[in-house]
């Protein structure tokens, strides 16, 4: 590979506290050779032809901590190849995949298959999660130690919550012994029973059974109480309610843990469901505008560590049903960054904070050397025209499933190029 030179970029790399105008040099082996303000036209040999980025941004490749891939079992919704292409178009170079496939990722033999498929079909870095319990049925835990040795970096039941408190306590003990990261989808099933959307006037009006925000809070409070006793690596996958942000903020002063939020919950509220828009049937559900504002505030003051896409591809047949019967989830990996930039453009959150929540924070939680532009590391990064306007159109999406939550939305900011290990894999 030839050396590549980029100049006149605005570089944000929260991991290395870089936020400056400058350039980037990629070495012959696809690693980052030099970065920052010292890389400029005056310091380059004249024989080189640098690419002038004319003020576009360079961000580390995004690390998306919550992504569903259909492989194995639901290849018609999304496979590794389509996921990787969709990710690249959104500047995402590393994804953490959920274990809710068919079969469930709960044993060592399937991890080998998964890693092979991921390596052969995907151009981005795939970090598979295994389930916390066998078959995600919430009764017996999986082999955290053996799975971790095979390269599993985190454990979660993904769509499901560990309901049994004793089991959760034991999971935390094991995770502590083995140094494993566990991620919880916080929802009390007894309170959420058959619920589809947030409790309140919208649910009452639409006549849909609902999920109160305390269903989230009770699991969070329970888990944090257990965590005080057993200090393991614990992450709450997604917050959806303002009250949950308060609790997280308060408890973070005494016990170490992390949490995430879906870009959907940061950008939309329950009113967007309108008349039964099944593409907005999400878990956790969209809540009130006050909740959305509290989540944005939580991101701003760094109570919330991570933004995820919660990318859940569903084919049209699973969504063209009544609200009660329709599948849960929205596709979103391609729009994750652009939609996050909305929070910057409308003045809610600093750009650096957003990029941190998309790159260095998830990498740190996952304990992987990604999401940064450190010298010597793989050159995984994206080039972004932060002001470029575009409109989300179903037919232009790359993901195999088109269930976007923001059809026809006008966005500002688009990834123009994405590189993995120094190779340009996406270009507008």
């Amino acid at each position: 590979m030839k050396k590549q030179y980029f100049i006149n970029a605005k570089i944000i790399d929260p991991h290395n506290s870089i936020n400056e105008n400058g350039g980037l040099i990629i070495g012959e082996n696809g690693n980052i050779e030099a970065i920052g303000k010292k890389v400029n036209i005056n310091n380059l040999p004249t024989r080189e032809k640098p690419t002038d980025l004319k003020g576009k941004y360079i961000f580390p490749g995004i690390v998306d901590m919550k992504v569903f891939v259909g492989e194995p079992g639901y290849e018609y919704k999304e496979n590794f190849r389509t996921l990787s292409n969709a990710a690249l178009s959104g500047g995402v170079t590393s994804v953490v995949t959920m274990p809710n496939t068919d079969p469930i990722i709960d044993n060592v033999s399937i991890v080998d298959f998964l890693k092979r498929r991921g390596r052969d079909k995907s151009k981005i870095n795939i970090f598979p999660c295994a389930s916390l319990t066998q078959n995600t049925d919430g009764t017996n835990m999986t082999e955290f130690g053996l799975l971790a040795k095979k390269g599993i970096i985190a454990f979660t039941d993904g769509l499901k919550t560990i309901q049994n408190t004793r089991l959760m306590s034991r999971i935390m003990n094991s995770a502590k012994d083995l140094g494993c990261l566990i991620m919880q989808h916080a929802e009390d099933y007894d309170l959420a029973q058959n619920g589809m959307i947030n409790s309140g006037i919208i649910a009452t009006k639409l006549g849909l059974s609902s999920i109160p925000d305390i269903a989230e809070r009770i699991i969070i409070e329970r888990d944090l109480t257990l965590l005080e006793k057993t200090k393991c690596r614990y992450h709450i996958s997604q917050l959806s309610a303002g009250r949950s942000v308060d609790i997280v903020k308060e408890r973070k002063q005494n016990v170490k843990f992390t949490c995430g939020v879906s870009i959907n919950n940061l950008s939309l509220n329950e009113n967007d469901i309108g008349e039964f828009r099944t593409f907005l049937k999400l878990s956790p559900p969209l809540r009130r505008e006050e909740d959305r504002e509290a989540l944005v505030q939580g991101l701003k003051d760094k109570t919330i560590d991570v933004i995820v896409s919660d990318h859940k591809p569903e084919d049209e047949e699973s969504k063209r049903l009544t609200f009660a019967q329709a599948a849960t989830g929205a596709s979103g990996i391609e729009t994750l960054l652009s939609l996050s930039l909305e929070l910057f453009h409308n003045g809610s959150v600093k750009l650096e904070t957003i990029i941190q929540a998309l790159t260095s924070n998830p990498a740190k939680i996952l304990n992987i050397n990604k999401g940064n532009l450190s010298i010597g590391n793989d050159a995984d990064f994206c080039i972004v025209d932060i002001n470029k306007p575009w409109i989300v159109k179903k037919e232009n999406l790359i993901s195999k499933s088109k269930n976007t939550s923001i059809e026809d939305k006008k966005l500002q900011g688009k990834v123009t190029n994405t590189f993995v290990k120094g190779i340009e894999l996406f270009k507008i």
Binding site: D190, Q193, I201, T204, F276, T322
Partner: protein
């Protein structure tokens, strides 16, 4: 018998999916049109031909006695060809989706589809996919517009007005589409609506619809002109909402001593089917001076005839 039509007035909606889509004018128009059909239904020759040549399909995904037969009779008396489909035996059982069923029926060129479905919003989904008029005969717990219209017609017939009346709706509000449609309609027409239910059966933020809420039935019934009782929908209850039927009857069943708190000329209504001895004392249900439950059924046919005629025009 000749039915006069007020040609100047048009309904604002293509489909009848819910009361919340209608205007006050729409509601009054439907109620006014219904009056003529009350007389027609009491006459010897009950059949006219305003819907001759039209095809009406009744698509019932949930069991129903009065609504289904009422819509069927209404269509037949207007001269339409009526087909009632009991969806328990249909391709839905074979895995066909609602939209596919709709497309299949749509290909047969019906003029009206009347749908009852267990899922809220099913009629909205259907209306997006077919070319004909869709009338909602009850969707999940969302709306049951013709029930609210017939209730309004019954009240108007007896009390000669709706504006200014105090009306209590009591019982299982949480699971009730009848309650929701009635709340929209009655508040729109200027009635004061009291909602009476135990907290477990009270929907969240229902007061935002402009109603008063009560967990004490005697307080909720105070000085009411109308007491509307709802059926306890045990089939929709997935976990323990109530301790027992007998305790529910003690606190929320309509009994003479509770009814004493309402006005002396208060009328009792119930959309049926009734659970006697659970939400209503059987003597009160049959009290011809107080109960208008049978009249509701009678007027139901007239209201549905008016709806079929108006929405089909």
């Amino acid at each position: 018998m000749a039915i006069k039509t007020n040609k100047a007035i048009k309904i604002s909606q293509k489909h009848l999916l819910g009361i919340q889509d209608l205007s006050v004018n729409d509601i009054n128009y439907i109620l006014d049109e219904s009056e003529a059909f009350i007389k027609l239904n009491q006459s010897k020759n009950k059949k006219i031909d305003v819907l001759r040549g039209k095809t009406q399909i009744n698509l019932f995904f949930e069991p129903s006695t009065r609504t289904q037969s009422s819509f069927e009779l209404a269509g037949k008396r207007l001269g339409a060809d009526v087909m009632s489909m009991n969806m328990g035996n249909s391709a839905i059982k074979k895995g066909e989706t609602l939209i596919d069923t709709a497309m299949t029926l749509n290909a047969m060129h019906p003029d009206i589809i009347v749908i009852r479905h267990q899922d809220s919003g099913a009629c909205n989904l259907l209306s997006q996919k077919v070319n004909c008029v869709v009338l909602n005969a009850g969707d999940g717990r969302r709306e049951h517009p013709t029930q609210a219209l017939l209730d309004a017609l019954t009240i108007r017939n007896r009390k000669k007005k709706i504006q200014g009346l105090r009306i209590a709706i009591c019982g299982d509000i949480l699971h009730s589409r009848v309650a929701r449609s009635n709340i929209y309609l009655l508040t729109m027409l200027g009635a004061e609506v009291n909602i009476v239910a135990p907290s477990n059966l009270m929907p969240k933020e229902i007061e935002k619809f402009g109603v008063n809420t009560f967990t004490d039935m005697k307080k909720g019934l105070k000085d009411c002109d109308i007491v509307m009782m709802l059926r306890l929908q045990n089939e929709r209850m997935t976990s323990s909402y109530l301790s027992s039927n007998r305790e529910y009857y003690e606190y929320y069943g309509l009994t003479p001593d509770k009814l004493d708190h309402a006005k002396s000329d208060a009328l009792i209504m119930h959309p049926g089917p009734m659970n006697r001895g659970i939400e209503i004392d059987t003597r009160l249900a049959d009290d011809i001076n107080k109960s208008v439950i049978k009249e509701q059924v009678e007027l139901g046919v007239a209201v549905r005839m008016a709806c079929l005629k108006i929405f089909c025009e």
